[in-house]
């Protein structure tokens, strides 16, 4: 019997420190057994459970896109026991990963639609996966206009800076990078909170879906902006976080009403959330 | 069993007993090498959890030493600690978690290198007499 709790062994291929506060690192993982990579076939929006023997497991969004082959990446914020240990691990060390877990962004519905991506802080990981997926030459024609509003407190806290710069240069994706404030006179992008920048850039709601991921306070103030812009609740998509253990809808802790965030989520539309208790 | 050497954790306060250990060292005083020192800011810093953690991890003895009452660097840290130690030792022995002879306390000032070495010998001797600890070591959990 296939054991859904058993992690696939992976080797840390590289570790990149993403932010100037050194609290976010991206781990590039390579499967020890090639067949495990096939079993780990995922879709942007899903998450994996990272396993560190001796410490425990943590659920983390998959930052890579399935269009990138040979490795998977996870960007991990240092908060607790497992993540603190993980931050001290080095390339070459062995750990584990389980998954892919949960549902994904509704790519079938997004086909032929404009996509507005709104992200804040370190919740940008599965959005990065989605952007890479959509702008892949094989996929780009399936989607309409792509707008990205991505903000962080400061320049140094933005994730994936090299890629952001590259996307800025492309014509098939509209980037709106913003920081809460900047003391850098050479800062060439936006300054201001994500909700304000969203309102200012006013991406059209016509034929569009919005995907929003970020700290609760950002989501709270951005949702009214999206409504103003004309996005109905069924076209606003968000991804939730929850404390998780099993990741497969068995251990019982991540429910919101009848729904398990790990299995029935983490991706929900605003319309779905409206029918559930506000307990997240 | 003949080559068994006891493992002993000593929690020494930074200002007195750690200084005494230092003095014993520079004075080339001899005492058995079974003691692993953990320096704490004050004997008042000792939490019962530390002592239980040491025994859970398999040490054979624990020794806590601080400044003489009245000489605490923080004025009264060891005076509070004193009450804690009195209850802790009796309770550990009452519940059978620690057998007599495994847990030791002392007050040693930084000038008392000789007393430190002497106490170290006494602690080691007493733990040797108690034998290897067996009952409160966290082993692989007994689970299904």
């Amino acid at each position: 019997m296939n054991n859904p709790y058993l992690p696939y062994p992976v080797r840390i291929d590289s570790v990149i420190t993403e932010t100037e506060d050194r609290n976010l690192k991206t781990f590039k993982l390579v499967f020890l057994n090639a067949e495990d990579e096939k079993k780990f076939a995922y879709t942007p929006g899903q998450f994996g459970i990272l396993s560190v023997a001796g410490l425990g497991e943590i659920p983390i969004g998959i930052a890579t896109s399935p269009t990138e082959q040979g490795f998977i990446k996870f960007t991990v914020n240092k908060v607790g026991k497992v993540t603190s240990h993980l931050h001290n691990m080095k390339a070459g060390e062995i750990m584990g990963v389980r998954g892919p877990m949960g549902n994904w962004y509704p790519w079938d519905l997004l086909e032929g639609k404009n996509v507005v991506i709104i992200g804040g802080g370190f919740a940008f990981t599965t959005l990065r996966s989605s952007i890479v997926y959509m702008i892949d030459p094989k996929n780009r024609s399936r989607f309409g206009k792509i707008d990205v509003v991505y903000g962080a407190r400061s320049e140094g806290l933005l994730l994936y800076k090299d890629e952001l710069a590259e996307w800025e240069k492309r014509s098939d994706i509209n980037m709106h990078i913003t920081v809460d404030s900047s003391s850098d006179p050479n800062w060439k992008y936006n300054v201001g909170f994500v909700p304000a920048v969203t309102r200012q850039k006013a991406p059209s709601a016509e034929n569009a879906y919005a995907m929003i991921c970020g700290p609760p306070i950002m989501i709270k103030f951005t949702l009214p902006v999206l409504t103003e812009l004309g996005f109905p609740p069924e076209r606003i998509i968000s991804s939730l976080e929850m404390r998780m253990k099993c990741g497969i809808g068995i251990c019982g802790r991540c429910n919101i009403g009848t729904e398990y965030v790990c299995k029935d989520g983490p991706v929900f539309t605003l319309e779905q959330l409206a029918g559930l208790p506000v307990e997240y | 069993m003949s080559d068994w050497e006891p493992k002993i954790i000593a929690f020494l306060c930074n200002w007195c007993s750690y200084g005494a250990a230092d003095l014993a060292g520079v004075s080339r005083l001899q005492y058995p090498p079974n003691i692993r020192i953990i320096r704490v800011p004050c004997s008042g810093r000792i939490n019962p959890k530390f002592i239980l953690a040491a025994f859970r991890h398999g040490v054979d003895g624990v020794w806590v030493s601080g400044c003489h009452p009245g000489d605490c660097h923080y004025i009264e840290g060891n005076l509070y600690a004193r009450r804690k130690f009195a209850l802790l030792k009796s309770q550990l022995e009452y519940t059978g978690i620690v057998e007599p002879g495994r847990l030791h306390f002392s007050w040693i000032s930084s000038a008392e290198g000789t007393i430190f070495a002497e106490m170290a010998r006494r602690v080691v001797g007493s733990v040797v007499a108690a034998g290897p600890a067996q009952h409160f070591i966290k082993k692989q959990a007994e689970v299904a």
Binding site: G54, I250, G252, R253, N255 | V143
Partner: protein, 351 residues
Amino acid sequence: MPDIYYTAKENFAGVIERLMGRYRVYAPVKEDRCHGFAPLRSAAEADLGFSNTRLSPKGLFHPQAERMFEYSLAKDDPQAGIVKEAQKDFSPRVVLGVRPCDAKAFDLDDANFNTETIKDPWWVRRRETTTMIGLACDSPCSTCFCTSMGSGPYDTAGLDVLLVDAGEGYAAEVLSEKGKNTLEVTSGWSPVTSAILPLTHKKKAAEQSIGIAFDPAAIAKKPMLELYNSPTWEEVQFACINCGACTFVCPTCWCFDIQDEVCGDKGERLRLWDSCMFPLFTLHGSGHNPRSQKTQRVRQRFMHKLKYYQDKYNSGPACVGCGRCVQACPVNIDIRQVGRQMVSQGCSCPA
């Protein structure tokens, strides 16, 4: 072959012994003040004269602590850090003397552990390799309310065989192929050709001695958010001290935690019972806790059992009416009372 067999009580020890020759046999054993399921070392240890066990038999399938995996952390071990399956004994076993309410709980828990897409390997293996021999209940406790929860003192759900105390002996109703095979290897049973009328009376008498607690179907009909936002939770939660007694004694509470433990250079991944009553259950790494308040946790427990489960699986509640939580709660929070409050909520008349 008929479906009902009979053996005299004086032969029953022999039956157990023959079972023990083929299976690992678990049965209620008298502990200090109460009964608990334990592996039998001798037939005489089994004591079927119990009202119910203090802990439900769920631990036999979902142990309070279970070794899921093990691994080496030795520096020179090339396999270090690779998590591997732990060896377990899945040889066939019999659980003897399960009360019908507890047996039904396994059916309910299957909805969680054994689904189309995801199967919990340990739960499923144990369910497959275990024959459940139930014992009908003739003297229900004052806290029992199985009949309100779609079960009953003679319910056969989740069982392979149901034993009924027939005075001088036991009648055994065979309910599955597995049950049939198990009885066959024990011998000592003689087929009963006609229905035993007194047993039907006993069944009725047992059922009638249990009062109606509340109607879970009425809860199923109410909108989830109306129940969730009900002011009743404020009153229900006051007494709760947020211990895990109710959840740990409950046969249908399956929630678990996963923890790593290290001993020297060996480690293991364990899964252990957890409780939605504990604040830590939902605490995020960031410090945020979606159920930081006692009211939220108390509501979660009752809503999960009586509402969410019904909605999610389109079935009855995740409660079998064994009454253990009523007995174990230090502050007398009574699920029957809470159920009634949930039913009457929104209605102008007091329940």
